[in-house]
Amino acid sequence: MNAPLQTLADRVTTLAFDQHVLHAGFLGDAPCFVLADGTIHIGRERPAIRPHADGILVVAADRTRILTGGDDGRVFESRPDGATRLLGEEKGRWIDAVACGPDDSAAWSAGRKAFVRDGKGRIKTLDLPSSSQGLAFAPKGFRLAIAHVDGASAWFPLAGAPPERYAWKGSHLDVTFSPDNRFLITSMQENQLHGWRLADKGHMRMSGYPAKTRSLSWSQDGLWLATSGAEGAIVWPFAKDGPTGKAPRECGIRPARVTRVAFHPKALVLAIGYADGWVLLVRLTDASELLVRAGGDGSPISALGWDGDGTRLAFASEAGGGGLLTLPV
């Protein structure tokens, strides 16, 4: 037997939402939770806000705002003070993805179209080869990556030029740029990741997952990409030429599938949420593990997020069981 896990469970405040939680994180200082029933909870005191007519389907957030897309075809931006603003509307459609961009810009997809709204409110539209559930802005420049069937596209919406195509057969789900803007990575329907070097479109395949990867998180130094989809977080090395020919690190191996991952914003510490409701913290430098939640409501962890300085972690499950961890200072 291993030594019993050190636990942080006594530093967790338990929360109950009774609904599928899509997003857990922090807006400035305030913890925030976004629920599939359409409610957005900001802070512990204020009543929830409900910008959409009905449910929320997709969420993206940065430190200052939350973007939500609903089954009402609308995209809203919500601020820490509870103020909301309608950014776009695609009538009769579900919003399939949203992304936060630089300078208050935003992107969303609906049907076979992607939309970018810049900070001044100008909206640009791009026709896609298929619908898209993965959008991500590049770390530099005003550029949007879009995952779709048979590859991904990288688009400069203001340039007026067609997007750059990164082709690979199959259905691509989520997409992310590496923080150094050298790699574009997608998760795929076929239980694998695909990557391209942006410079020469060279391919990288990261496979071996027993399930789809639906959660990806970069370390603060940009050298590691943590992923869900296996019984343990799979962490790929991105120093120098990327993961090609290198083995990934496997962290927090347990007899339950990893459903969410979130790197600490300042240290090489990874928060891992599992399908059985467990949450662990793993330090990459020495593989030491800390227990945050031993099962809770037993429902898969569906949301994980750190605050800006990495002292608090918000998490929640599909069944709506959540918590706030405050780390000892």
């Binding site: 899509l22 029933d37 009769g92 579900w94 049907g111 329907q189």
Partner: protein, 348 residues
Amino acid sequence: MSEKIPVTVLTGYLGAGKTTLLNRILSEPHGKKYAVIVNEFGEIGIDNDLVVGADEEVFEMNNGCICCTVRGDLIRIIETLMKRRGKFDAIIVETTGLADPAPVAQTFFVDQDVQDKARLDAVVTVADAKWLRDRLRDAPEAKNQIAFADVILLNKTDLVTPAELREVEARIRAINPYATLHKTQKCAIALDQVLDRGAFDLDRILEIEPAFLESAEHDHHHDHDHDHECGPGCTHEHHHHHGGLKHFHDEDMQSVAIAHEGEMDPEKFMPWINDLVQAEGPNILRSKGILAFRQEPRRFVFQGVHMILDGDLQRDWKPDEKRVSRIVFIGRDLNEKALREGFLACAA
């Protein structure tokens, strides 16, 4: 984890009456809430709280299996719906009139996330009694929909003569003798004949006798005295009499049933069936089997959609039950002789 949400797939060629059936299902006082996934969003009014427009995005899985196509939009929609489970009890997917049902069905076997939360209940095909005969001749989609069905509603029977109705029924049976067939007007049918059929549930595949054997007398000699009644313009169908029911043979789509009065050797059967669907998967639309394996007290039951097979040991053979191994294929250009020889070579 709570029970899986049942999903009923409604197919049928343009104008056959799919939407009539859908609205009938939704308006009956069953106390159930349905999430409805439709195409051609908003074209015909559907009176339901939860209607989702879909794009029928069919793509090939990148897994080396050429007929392994799935509906990407369906995966995304079902995943999203499952986040609001309290809002509905079951899902109905209405496909376009030109859709091949296979990618829809395969989605439920290929995608693990969908499989964890939803189960395919049945493929229900609505056919137009007056026009099906023509469509079987000129529209491969219509033939696929009949071949694939677990339940067929032969609708608009008031628009044809009894003789025409018998003929169209016989033509359906030539393609798919295993589906449950109901003759309807305006899709009037008891909902329990359409919903909660468990057609893909291995535990509920009890018998795989062709349905026409239940009603018509039969002698099982296929005396192929082909009687060409069609003109020279129509070369496809031949028919012969089969008991009391006119029996057609469809040149393009057939079913092949093989029985072995005894046990099979699993060491021979499993590689044979796997190799068969790998090689012939594009042509085999559906397959089913109930097998007696050597020294195995339980029945082995399997079903397949193109190359995808799903099989398991099921309940025990009853003491009074004959240990007979039966297998059925519905498909295009099936080589009956090769199938028969291949299957019988797996006998224990």
